[in-house]
């Protein structure tokens, strides 16, 4: 089994990270914002796995599992908040949340 070069893996992860970031920046729908966050977190996970494979150490995969848990927790809280938001405003548009400013 020939390993994929480290740089390729990192580049892919970086691309995913950028996609996620752009998603968070541009989407108005909160559900999609959360999904974009998932992409960002998973891109970091991918980078860890690639690097772990490169160094032939288990730590990268451990870190990936950590990130998985983290992302799940993040989404759980996020969805809970989205339900509250929908109940109150009947919308998932993120722009309703701009009362605090100045």
């Amino acid at each position: 089994m020939s390993l994929i070069p480290l740089e390729h893996g990192i580049a892919l992860a970086g691309l995913l990270f950028a996609i996620g970031l752009v998603g968070v920046m541009t989407r108005r729908n909160i559900v999609f914002v959360l999904m974009s966050l998932e992409i960002m977190l998973n891109s970091a996970g991918l980078a860890f796995v690639v690097a772990g494979a490169h160094h032939a150490s288990a730590e990268g995969q451990v870190m990936f599992l950590m990130i998985l848990t983290l992302a799940a927790a993040e989404v759980a809280v996020g969805l809970g908040l989205i339900i509250q938001l929908y109940r109150r405003f009947k919308t998932t548009d993120i722009e309703v949340l701009s009362a605090l400013k100045g």
Binding site: I10, V24, L37, M40, H54, L85, A99, K101
Partner: protein, 506 residues
């Protein structure tokens, strides 16, 4: 596992089992964890806010005591311990564990008074507080990126809940949902960025340790690793709300209930700051010119932006948010004056002292605000405090002490802290930073004194009546008194504290 490399001695040295002795080193963490479980069970049996608060405070006191015992051992020369590769238990870590536990104790007491009349489940606030404390303690004692992530996320997750806490409440708390959402999304972005940075570092050095030789400056020769470091900095800068990652701060401060804001401003900043300090000390990153340039830019921008934004702020919570931005800027100046470079480590002492002082001052300020408020009606606007000196002089006096401290006026801890930063900056000839420091402090003086000026105004119609203090606030009053005494003591007789903190880096 054929990935397992025999050369990775760090794992082998501490895996596979954890000895009793090592478990003993983690006693504060364990006590906190056990208290969480116990409190959860107690809530399941019967909901009672007072009982939950008592359990919480007892657990925090026990953890602080355990940490104090460790501290006295360590100061007397006991060797510091690397407990699994994840935790480094040394005087530095244990000192911050004590500080964090005591801060959490104060917050539990304040939260009790504040949420006493909430028309919803109140007990879980203490649970979340304990969880956040465990996260903070983990972060402050971490020696490895894994424990950093665990600690940071435990802290943040608990904070999401705490910021949104009065979400079901019929009265008051209209913006907590917005605040929580903003914090969640932005904090997740920051976390992802930080994780990606860690991944980049790991890809270049093959090590996840924060302490130890693998991730020292030598390991960062590769540019990709430097990018990783910068991304980690972005995450940290977000948590410390440095410019331009600060935009969430005022909104969250304004929208969240006061005890949660206090936690964000004290435990949140102290834990992240302690980790950052340790990271810089062990990695010698300040030898890299890009790193110092970036940090200097962040510091100057934060000092100027924070102070300028606070200038005309009429909401006291937002004002404190902007002031926190500026203060974290000052703090970075202390770091830049040579953390991890000189043998004396005066800069590290200055930074640690500053962190402690800032936490005490903002704890005191938020405590004063929260004793004047309750979950139903918050006194957050500056005009609420108009004429406070004539209505409740002691509270006004306490708040004035905090404002003087934040402004860095002599005879308060704030002056000593700022003086040390000045001095460290002078010693290391950081003239540009020093100029920002002076300018920022001058602007700062204006808006801190404006708060006091408002309190000295004759009490008009608009000054609203503050919450009547019942039995639930006895603890809050004692807390405020202790914080005021600490701030004055550290301002008038700082020498013992200075010696203690210098010993952390000895």
């Amino acid at each position: 596992m054929d990935y397992d490399n025999a050369a990775r001695d760090t794992i082998n040295a501490f895996a596979p089992s954890v000895s009793w002795e090592e478990l003993l080193w983690l006693l504060p963490h364990e006590i906190l964890g056990a208290t969480i479980v116990f409190a959860m069970l107690a809530i399941a049996v019967r909901r009672h806010f007072f009982v939950t608060t008592v359990i919480t405070t007892l657990g925090l006191i026990a953890a602080a005591l355990a940490a104090s015992m460790q501290f006295s051992h360590l100061v007397q020369g006991a060797p510091s311990a690397l407990v699994t590769p994840l935790f480094l238990i040394d005087a530095f870590a244990v000192f911050f564990v004590i500080v964090l536990c005591l801060g959490a104790l104060a917050l539990a007491i304040l939260g009790f008074g504040y949420f006493a009349r909430l028309d919803d489940a109140r007990e879980e606030f203490q649970l979340l507080l304990l969880l956040a404390t465990l996260g903070a303690v983990t972060l402050a004692s971490s020696a490895h990126f894994v424990s950093v992530v665990i600690g940071l996320e435990m802290l943040s997750m608990a904070l999401y809940g705490m910021i949104a806490y009065p979400i079901h409440s019929k009265v008051g708390a209209e913006h907590s949902l917005e605040a929580a959402f903003k914090y969640l999304v932005l904090s997740a972005v920051a976390s992802a960025t930080m994780l990606f940075g860690m991944a980049l570092i790991y890809s270049q050095t093959g090590a996840l340790e924060v302490v130890g030789s693998a991730n020292s400056m030598l390991g960062y020769a590769s540019p990709l690793a430097l990018v990783g470091v910068m991304l980690v900095f972005v995450g940290i800068a977000f948590k410390l709300s440095l410019f331009p990652f600060h935009l969430w701060t005022p909104d969250v401060y304004e929208g969240a209930p006061l005890p949660s804001v206090a936690l964000l401003a004290t435990l949140g900043k102290v834990a992240v700051g302690a980790f950052f300090l340790r990271f810089l000390i062990h990695s010698h990153l300040l030898l890299n010119e890009s790193v110092t340039l970036v940090l200097a830019l962040l510091a100057v921008a934060s000092i100027l932006a924070g102070n300028v934004l606070a200038l005309r702020q009429t909401n006291l919570k937002r004002l404190l948010a902007y002031s926190s931005i500026a203060h974290m800027g000052y703090w970075v100046v202390a770091l830049l004056s040579g953390v991890g470079l000189g043998s004396q480590n005066m800069a590290a002492s200055a930074a640690a002292f500053y962190l402690l002082t800032y936490a005490a001052l903002s704890l005191g300020a938020f405590a004063c605000l929260s004793i004047a408020s309750s979950s139903e009606s918050e006194a957050g606007v500056l005009s609420d405090y108009r004429g406070l000196f004539w209505r409740s002089p002691w509270l006004a006096l306490a708040l004035s002490v905090m404002m003087f401290g934040l402004a860095g006026i002599p005879l308060t801890a704030g002056f000593i802290a700022k003086f040390q930063v000045f001095f460290a900056a002078v010693e290391s000839s950081q003239w540009g930073l020093l100029a920002a420091l002076v300018l920022g402090s001058a602007i700062g003086l204006f808006y801190y004194l404006r708060v006091i000026y408002q309190m000295l105004q004759p009490a008009g119609e608009e000054g609203r009546t503050l919450r009547d203090l019942g039995l639930e606030s006895v603890g809050s009053v004692i807390t405020i008194t202790l914080v005021v005494l600490f701030v004055l003591w550290a301002g008038i007789l700082p020498e013992p504290l200075l010696v203690l903190i210098a010993a952390l880096f000895g």
